[in-house]
């Protein structure tokens, strides 16, 4: 997945006059295929098939879900013109409410409660930013401080009587597990193929198996929300109006759109999605709430959304990229070393592409980076532990830096809108 971005973005060289190159479906598929071949080749060269093993892909997916949900929350809010830096706080509300209802009733109700908790955070953000016109960042930071404080405080008081059930001063008692889902009839023979380590075939089998085996139901729900968000925001009248509030609210107002209402709806949904991400953490990743459990995933979700150019597909890719590197460094530190080789090859390919496009400076920089990384790979046996732990952040930073030139945010994003302000 690293390579999906580091690799050249094949704009049609024959038509450079076209105003903007777009990532169309064939191009995306081509990139994915290229990345697969690269991973397979590296696996064959090094004999380390960890990068495409089904366990790794499954773990990447489960790391990606909370980030993707936070990112989706950011998407809804920012498409309606409200910057939501309070996602982290709304996620915390989701972890707390999710674990609470999950313990008292059952984990399904916990999921709903998590969403409701997040939505409450969203409502607060909407009230402050939309109705009162306070700066979005100020409100978001306030929520990030307020919600974890409230949750820690309530946890301490409320769970005092539940110590026998496993509660602690900063931990809720455990809730039951949610079921997992395996696509029937696939897992077994895909696993067999994966064991053979055939070039490319086994890698594809490993990835498919990871994507179809032991999925948490919340992963499926999250995937459904991502797809549904695309259709709701880009294929319905409601979505068009909502996005118009993020692009040009005064124009929307002049056409009779109730901008306040749409902003409210968007920010509340935003909180609900972040809350679902939080509930995933406290009901699937772990079975209890504890202080500081989100560990900045709300902010990473925001970064994934920006990386994804404020589009659901892009943010899913960003979350996947982060989830992949994060779970890789946790599961299998040796594979991070192999990842160096992948990066080196990808950068070399990028350099070739840039030379072909006559971007000599950029190409030279890429080739130097590729050489450096390759040298690093060749001269060491393992990556130093502190660097391994930092991999997800480094990769995200690099990818964001590379992708930043192509981004366009909603035009009125973050601006304070007052009804009737148009002249």
């Amino acid at each position: 997945m690293t390579t999906a971005v580091a690799k050249p973005k094949p704009k049609s060289p024959a038509a450079p006059a076209k105003k903007k190159s777009k990532l169309t479906w064939p191009v995306v598929l081509l990139l994915i295929a290229g990345a697969l071949v690269l991973f397979a080749a590296v696996g064959a060269i090094t004999g380390n098939h960890g990068l495409t093993s089904s366990g790794q892909i499954g773990a990447a997916l489960s790391s990606a879900v909370p980030i993707a949900m936070a990112g989706l929350g950011g998407l809804w809010a920012e498409r309606a013109g409200v910057v939501n830096i309070g996602l982290e706080g709304m996620m915390v509300a989701g972890t707390f409410c999710g674990a609470w209802a999950g313990f008292l009733v059952n984990p399904w109700v916990g999921l709903l409660a998590g969403m409701a908790g997040g939505a409450l955070g969203g409502l607060l953000h909407a009230l402050i930013t939309v109705t009162f016109g306070v700066d979005h960042i100020v409100s978001g930071v306030g929520i990030n401080l307020l919600v974890p404080g409230i949750c820690a405080y309530v946890n301490r008081i409320y769970y005092k009587d539940y110590v026998a059930d496993g509660a602690g001063a900063n931990q809720s008692p455990p809730a039951d597990s949610l079921p997992t889902f395996t696509v029937p009839g696939l897992s077994g023979w895909l696993g067999d193929i994966e064991q053979h380590h055939w070039f490319l075939v086994s890698d594809v089998a490993g990835i498919l198996r990871g994507l179809t085996t032991e999925l948490s139901v919340v992963t499926l729900i999250a995937g459904a929300f991502l797809v549904a968000s695309y259709f709701v925001l880009w294929r319905t009248v409601f979505g068009l109006r909502l996005r118009s509030c993020g692009e040009n609210p005064t124009a929307a107002e002049s056409l009779g759109v109730n901008v306040y209402k749409y902003k409210y709806l968007a920010v509340i949904s935003s909180g609900a999605f972040a809350g679902l991400g939080g509930a995933y953490l406290s009901l699937v990743a772990a079975h209890f709430y504890r202080d500081g459990q989100t560990q900045g995933r709300g902010f990473i979700g925001l970064a994934a959304m920006i990386f994804g150019n404020w589009m659901p597909g892009g943010l899913a890719a960003g979350a996947g990229l982060f989830g992949f590197t994060d779970s890789l460094q946790l599961r299998d530190a040796d594979s991070v070393h192999v990842l160096l080789l992948v990066v080196a090859i990808a950068m070399a390919l990028l350099a070739l592409w840039q030379f072909y496009r006559r971007k000599f400076t950029a190409g030279a920089i890429s080739i130097v980076v590729a050489g450096g990384v390759a040298l690093w790979y060749a001269t060491t046996d393992a990556v130093q532990r502190p660097l391994i732990v930092a991999t997800p952040y480094v990769i995200t930073l690099v990818v964001l830096a590379l992708a930043a030139q192509r981004l366009r945010m909603p035009k009125a994003d973050g601006q304070i809108y007052r009804k009737g302000q148009a002249k």
């Binding site: 402050i128 306030g142 401080l145 301490r156 455990p174 202080d291 500081g292 946790l330 599961r331």
Partner: protein, 356 residues
Amino acid sequence: MRRSLKLAAAVLSGSLGIASLAACGAKSTDNTTSAGAGGGSGLKVGMAYDIGGRGDQSFNDSAARGLDQAKSELGATINEAEAKSGESEGDKEQRLKSLVTGGFNPVIAVGFIYQDAVNKVAKDNPNVKFAIIDSFSPEQPKNVTSLTFSEEQGSYLAGVAAANKSKTKHVGFIGGVQSELIKKFEAGYVAGAKSVDSNIAVEVTYLSTPPDNTGFADPGKGKQAAQGQLDKGADVIYSAAGSSGSGAIEAVATAPGNKWAIGVDSDQANLPALSKYKDHILTSMVKNVNTAVFSYVKSTKDGTDQGGVKNFDLKDGGVSLAVTGGFIDDIKAKLDAATQQITGGATKVPTTPPQG
């Protein structure tokens, strides 16, 4: 209309500010004072917990038990405060200072993360006695006592147990933070496992590296790391990772086949939050922090406290293996033999891992 809105905004943001201040205040100081059964013997003990605090099902809970014992048996008045994820050095100093100004003496800091803060605050308050658990620095003033444990010896036994129980000859270790302290666990465990079978494969994963101490409080990460090791073929996993360890235990317990987890610090099979998985918890490397805390409090009360380092090893019962569930009863002879060798000095357990 406009004015009323503005007024409402001002009131709301003001109350928000106060609420968040209150919440922060509640979190960072969070002092719960309670007098002991004896109605206050004049002994006032302050305790500053590591991240996780009372209720972490592990290290802090063990310290808390020692404190509770001091409260009931010595009639001490106690006060507790707790660290939070991502706090600054200043927050730690502030926490210790507020315990000192509250008249608490001795003040016990739980965890190596407090070392610098203890050094500083102890220097400014030479008449107050301090104890720090799990850490020692040459610069620490005379009024500081280090309470340390020979974790490597207990971990060695855990390694022996793991190697004897492993069918695949493949075991795993998960450390919360790659600090000097947790490396002692790793070193002992690896040495113990190799003493049974020199060809045994040992997976080692750390969840974070200092100064990022979040690896002790993220069960999701513990779970993923354990799954990674299981996928590679390990079938006994020892996690020294605070509350992240519960994630690792869950991953091991829910994996197909008969896999074992080894707990740490407290007897984790006995903890309510993990009781669901107790049939898969082979044993726990128990660190009797409670004994250390209690004996330290007692020594300050009796005036026998010397400062310096007080180490608790296998011989003193500072570390031991839990026998809950009886899963290690069949290899008891082997464990006893290993214990004998360590306490007799025949085996020197390393305190640093083979490499990096």
